[in-house]
């Protein structure tokens, strides 16, 4: 059969090498992309952490003049924006990328090049958001960017424009990643892995991806609105023309509340893998955990106005949102009980990953309880804009999400690198982080109840807030020591190189059945799945008596649609065809970034961006997944 192929003239050769810088720039391998997500977001963790330390240094004493009010505004804006969009979300994405294909028995994600596009957009978006630091005009309107305060009339300069454009780019990256993982999880499961045989982490990734795809467009529209207001004088939030500040709040929080579940559901997935492994028991109530996750994701769309109880929406709206907010605590509480019941009568092994997961349960429960407190509208009126709220969301996002991410890091590190992280240093790190975290954020409960307002750059000495603030600031330094210990542990353990083997934890899911680090193609033969935690029951078939019989479903031989499927003659005998590398995703993301940046810098840059972007798009769609030249496959 004859085929005609269209190609674009190549300016650079398609990257081929498996080592060196080009092997990373051109990669479409989910493992390398995951690693890059991890490294880039850890860099932003250090940046966001430094901003937090600056905030704590400023607040360590009353009437401090360490930073100006304007700099303080920039610091808390960028701390929040960085930690949400450039740290917790992409760290979760690092785990998605690394683990989803491994957990479902696939050789890559459904769209490897689109995966690479997400990574580069994330990199460029982060740079655009932070570009203001270089020009002295960092965004200063809060991570929530309340209009009209973030509009051009009250906030001249470029700061919030960087914010709007950068977050738009990050939003495109998130939607693309979300779409990719939805298709991957639905379509690329190993034969026999029905939906309710999937690992819990895979389930939480699926739910998170659906939330991303549906929630990000809402803030995308809000960002377009504030962006056109700032750049082209439209009136969405122009008070002089009737623009309504409450509309912005609705739009932001309609995105913002699903967003907090986007941040926490992957963390819940991580602890749901770690706890059963080290309690030597199956997860208690797997179905309850899954359906609670689905319930949280669904109800998460009906609680947004609890961020707006003091706006004056009226008693009917406030009551409705108070009730829905209290109700969402139920599925969350169900999960906490399931995790604890998993531990009951388990043979518990207290290593670093387990300690972080148990800390997650404890700290997240504290944060959840203070959350239920301000679910009550009258109580919230007292707590709105005080440090009590700051304490609450740091207990759920640091005590919750970050603890789980550290847990997952210690748990999967051996799988990703092949060598173990040192447990003893890890224990010290765990204790340091837990201690510093509680030193820093527990006092904020009292400060908030005493009325200390958020986002105010200083307080006077007659308020009586100095000692608690000093403790909180000292806690910040303790956390910083914990992070440094982590970095030290990585380099120390890398030097010691205690090799992990395939399955150092005697764990349950498919990723532990293959070598560490996994080969490029992950699975030499695609596994046949019969049970939930299939690898565990392969190792311990005698534990199977209470398991349900196997129900084959979704059977497939080779998981690749993007790659040519079926055994062609030149697949070196192992029948494995992986997509070739490509630099077009990088070109497209560069084009998008320059095109959007050109809206600020001038038409010439938009034109350059459009040319690069279109070249990338056409090159991409005309580029075969694998070059047809004989001998050119991976």
């Amino acid at each position: 059969m004859t085929t005609t192929t269209l190609t674009l003239p190549r300016i650079f050769k398609r990257p081929k090498s498996e080592t060196g810088i080009w092997s990373w720039i051109g990669t479409v391998d989910h493992k390398r992309i995951g690693t890059m997500y991890g490294i880039i977001s850890f860099f932003w963790l250090l940046v966001g952490g430094f901003e937090a330390l600056m905030i704590r240094a400023q607040l360590a004493q009353a009437d401090s003049e360490l930073v100006s009010a304007e700099t303080y505004n920039q610091l808390f804006t960028m701390h929040g924006t960085t930690m949400v969009f450039l740290v917790v979300m992409p760290l979760s994405a690092a785990f998605f990328n690394w683990l989803i294909p491994l957990q479902i028995g696939a050789r890559d994600v459904a769209f490897p090049r689109m995966n690479s596009l997400s990574l580069w957009l994330f990199l460029f978006g982060g740079l655009v958001v932070n570009a203001g630091w270089l020009t002295g005009e960092a965004p200063n309107g809060g991570w929530f960017g309340y209009a009209p305060n973030s509009g051009i009339a009250f906030n001249p300069g470029h700061g919030m424009t960087y914010w709007a454009l950068g977050l738009s780019i990050l939003g495109i990256a998130s939607i693309a990643a979300g779409l990719n993982f939805i298709v991957t999880i639905f379509n690329m499961r190993a034969p026999g892995m029905s939906l309710f045989k999937m690992p819990v982490f895979t389930w939480m990734t699926l739910i998170t991806s659906i939330l991303l795809v549906l929630a990000i467009p809402v803030i995308g529209v809000a960002l377009i609105q504030i962006g056109t207001d700032r750049l082209y004088d439209t009136n969405f939030y122009n008070s002089l023309k009737g623009g309504d500040p409450v509309l912005w709040q609705h739009m932001f929080w309609l995105f913002g509340h699903p967003e907090v579940y986007i941040l926490i559901l992957p963390a819940m997935g991580i602890v749901s893998e770690v706890l059963p492994t080290f309690a030597r028991k199956p997860l208690f109530g797997y179905d309850f955990v899954i359906f609670s996750g689905i319930g949280i994701a669904f109800m998460g769309w009906f609680v947004w106005s609890h961020h707006m109880f003091t706006v004056g929406l009226g008693p009917a709206a406030n009551s409705a949102f108070a009730i829905s907010t209290m109700a969402i605590a139920i599925p969350t509480g169900v999960k906490i009980l399931n995790w604890m019941a998993t531990l009951v009568r388990g043979s518990i092994k207290l290593n670093v990953a387990m300690l972080f997961s148990i800390s997650f349960i404890a700290m997240f429960t504290i944060g959840g309880l203070s959350g239920v407190m301000h679910a009550s509208a009258p109580t919230d009126a007292q707590q709105q804009d005080t440090y009590f709220v700051v304490a609450h969301f740091h207990y759920v996002l640091f005590g919750g999400a970050m603890m789980a991410i550290f847990s997952g890091t210690y748990f999967w590190w051996p799988k990703m690198t092949g060598w173990m992280l040192n447990e003893r240093i890890g224990m010290v790190m765990w204790f340091t982080i837990l201690l510093g975290f509680n030193m820093q954020f527990a006092p904020m409960h009292w400060l908030g109840m005493d009325g200390m307002p958020r986002r105010i750059f200083t307080y006077s000495s007659d308020q009586g807030w100095e000692s608690l603030n000093a403790i909180a600031s000292a806690g910040g330094l303790v956390i910083a020591i914990g992070i440094l210990l982590f970095i030290f542990n990585v380099f120390y353990s890398r030097k010691k190189r205690v090799m992990a083997g395939n399955d150092p934890w005697d764990a349950r899911t498919l990723e532990w059945s293959i070598p560490s680090p996994p080969p490029h193609y992950n699975f030499e033969t695609i596994p046949q799945v019969q049970h939930r935690d299939d690898f565990w029951y392969q190792k311990y078939p005698e534990l199977l008596e209470h398991e349900e019989g196997h129900a084959p479903s979704g059977a497939q031989e080779d998981l690749h649609l993007e790659a040519p499927s079926g055994g062609s003659d030149d697949d070196h005998g192992h029948g494995i065809h992986l997509p070739d590398m490509s630099y077009y995703p990088l070109l497209v993301s560069l084009g998008v970034t320059l095109g959007l940046a050109g809206l600020m810098a001038g038409l010439w840059l938009t034109v350059i961006g459009a040319v690069i972007g279109l070249w990338g798009v056409f090159g991409w769609s005309l580029e075969p997944v694998n070059d047809p030249t004989p001998g050119a496959d991976h």
Binding site: T4, N187, K241, L247
Partner: protein, 221 residues
């Protein structure tokens, strides 16, 4: 030999069950998920339009500029492009070369006519004194319909690209999925227009000056 693998990969016919867990093609599932995302995108813009209904402080108001009869014509043109899209897919699947090409071309051409109507409409409105900076109506109207127009434009470019591929032999009956996915997008953009036409033109076209706002005299009066 890898070459042969590529052709095998392309040798999927539209009613094949795909070699995936669900039996659906990855790319088709991707498009459906993307359309769900796009629903939220347009939904948010339409909600903004409705929230700001009757809240412009100065004219022109919808009753001063919106022209239902002309827009009904352009709406008809766009809806007919959905019909021609269905025919195009049908003939490409059947391998009818000339008819396939003809209907892809007709679909793209109807899209271009629709965009032409929109350009004339925007131009007229600006002449009558309504721009995106005039008032809330102008802002919400132009950004909402503008983004819809951008979606149609992307669809036109996509169809022309496929038409080019049909001439070159890269779009054939055995990989008509390429056209089917473009068709999903095209139909979705048409459906969005039905909502916009209903909300913006049929529901709010008679909105005049809200209480307290001055009536619109006209740019030249």
């Amino acid at each position: 030999m890898a070459h042969q693998a590529i052709t095998e990969y392309h040798a999927e016919v539209h009613d094949t069950t795909y070699n995936t867990s669900t039996g659906l093609s990855n790319r088709k599932l991707l498009m459906w998920a993307f359309l769900a995302s796009d629903v939220m995108f347009f939904g948010t813009f339409i909600a903004t339009y409705l929230v700001y209904r009757n809240r412009s402080l100065v004219g022109p108001y919808p009753e001063n500029v919106l022209d239902i009869p002309i827009t009904t014509v352009s709406t008809f043109v766009l809806l007919m492009s959905s019909l021609s899209m269905v025919l195009a897919l049908h003939y490409v699947r059947d391998g009818a070369k000339i008819s396939g090409r003809f209907w892809i071309f007709v679909t793209a051409a109807l899209g271009i006519v629709f965009i032409g109507f929109q350009v004339v409409e925007f131009y007229t409105f600006v002449n009558e004194g309504l721009t995106p900076v005039t008032n809330l109506f102008g802002t919400t109207f132009f950004i909402l319909t503008g983004f819809h127009g951008a979606h149609v434009t992307i669809g036109i470019l996509w169809l022309l690209f496929l038409l080019f591929g049909h001439f070159k032999g890269t779009l054939r009956s055995d990989n008509s999925l390429d056209l089917e996915i473009a068709g999903l997008y095209w139909h979705f953009v048409d459906i969005v227009w039905i909502v916009i036409f209903t909300v913006v033109y049929l529901v709010t076209a008679n909105d005049g000056a809200p209480p307290g706002a001055p009536p619109f005299i006209g740019p030249h009066g």
